[in-house]
Amino acid sequence: MLQRLFSLLLIVLLIQPIHALADAPEGYPFVSFDQAMAKSQRESKLLFVYFGRYGCGYCEKTNREAFIDAAVRQRYSKNYALAYVDAESGRRLRLPSGERIAERDLGTRYNALVTPVFTFLNTDGELIHRMVGVQRIEDLIDADNKIQAALSKAKQQ
């Protein structure tokens, strides 16, 4: 009986993030923006924010053709605090300033006028780099290379 209950709980826990995250690529530790920002500050990592939309075609294309790549998954999972924002969702977020904001308004604030938009943010949420529309494997690898090179250079100075 206890084993059955545990299995049921496990299924619920496994299903819930998929439902909550809508179109985030599978196999990545994407979490909500406020959770990712807390992680970013805690671990001194940059944020990588994926602004998507439920049913977004170019998000699906990028998921299937670029995020599917093992090297992309390894790099992004390791190097960044990953946030997925559904630009139509009313999900409530709490920013470090104390402000409550809905995901869709966060999308507007970061100019996610079309989807997908991918942004690299520093631990204060300030924009470092932004990529709009469909991305290929080489685009994501190239962006990561540039960001990591800039970080290494900054550390050396």
């Binding site: 299903i15 439902h19 939309r53 439920y54 049913g55 977004c56 075609g57 170019y58 998000c59 699906e60 294309k61 299937r64 630009a87 139509e88 009313g90 409530r92 920013l95 300033s97 104390g98 402000e99 409550r100 809905a102 869709r104 507007t108 604030r109 006028l113 079309v114 989807t115």
Partner: protein, 414 residues
Amino acid sequence: MQILTIVLLWLVPASILHAAPWQFEHAVNVAGVESSTTHKIFHHLDSSGRRNIAASTLGVAVAWEDDRDVTPRIYLAFKPNTEDSFKYAVQISGEGEAYEPSLVALANNRFVVAWEENSQIFSRMVEFKGELRLGPTSQLNKGTAAHVSLVQHMGHLFALWSERTGRYGQIRSQRLSVNTNGTLEPGINCPIDKVPPTDEQLYPTGVITDNRLVVAWEDRRPKHTIIMAATELQGGHCRYSEPIRISEKPESRNLPYGTGHGVSRVALGRFGSDGVFAAWADKRDFRDGYDIWGANFSLSQGGFGTNEKVQDDFGGLSKQRHATVGGHAKGMLVVAWDDEREGNADIMLSWRENGEWSEDWPLPVASDAGQQSNPSIALDSEGNLHIAWVERNAIGATTRLKYAFGKLHTDPGL
């Protein structure tokens, strides 16, 4: 001379050239409590259907959420027509986290507020008799719910919300009646679409026309967001028509990926004897982001008609959101939203004028420097326009809650 005329026309703001039916003098603060250096306050006007303001015969009320004591709570402020400021204010919600209040006016200077608190739906009446008097709180549901919207017309009162049914939200309606002691008595409660939800149904709102409730909401069952609607069947008793899709699928869009374009947050308004208009943010021109679109409802034709673009084309490449609809029994119909075509967020209006949507008009008292957003509008019995919005100096800054009164001075030419 011709060149001089062109230069002068270019220098004169568009808002002066384009005569609006309403004359606005100045904006006033709604909430007396503002941020200090040690405590930041953020106000939210974000009810489902954008019903945060309501006008009675003697005054106007605004309901909102803010976090002045850290926990988000619901407040209401009232301004009698005879006074210039909102000096009467009261906390509406209880001790829990409360969000997204919806507000309607009843006769005799009474208002009803409904809100979400600890993921359940509550409502109470507020009456102004020289001071604000609060009625008892009524809990409207037991399950996990959000996005409540109130509907009122000629003494009929309904609450609509999205309630978890299994994994997904399902839109439910509940008739409310007002007892003589000011208690709101919940009546029949039922789902609008009785089919168990297979994806999210969110952010409902409604209007009553020809004694029937018309409900519209966001629906994710096609695996992208569309706007759907249903109409109460004759005789009422919580029976509704089959839901129909309002937001149209754009022609010649057949991409190999994705399921469809996005839409966001429908608002409904009544106008004329039986007119109903729905407005929402729509991403069918997907390279431009969301634009404000809408559709007319006709009971005799069984639903909503062809979609029409409410905003003009000058805002095509900028952000529009938070559409709110106001209507009047004489036929006036106006839509407001926030719009970034001038760089900052401003409040923009468009109204029906000789059967067409007017040019977009930046509200003079809400289109200056800084950010003005999240409008909610109401037309009073005289056709005057009452509008509340959220103002901040810069993106991310603390907020102020503002109100302006627009005196009707010309017939919009229906």
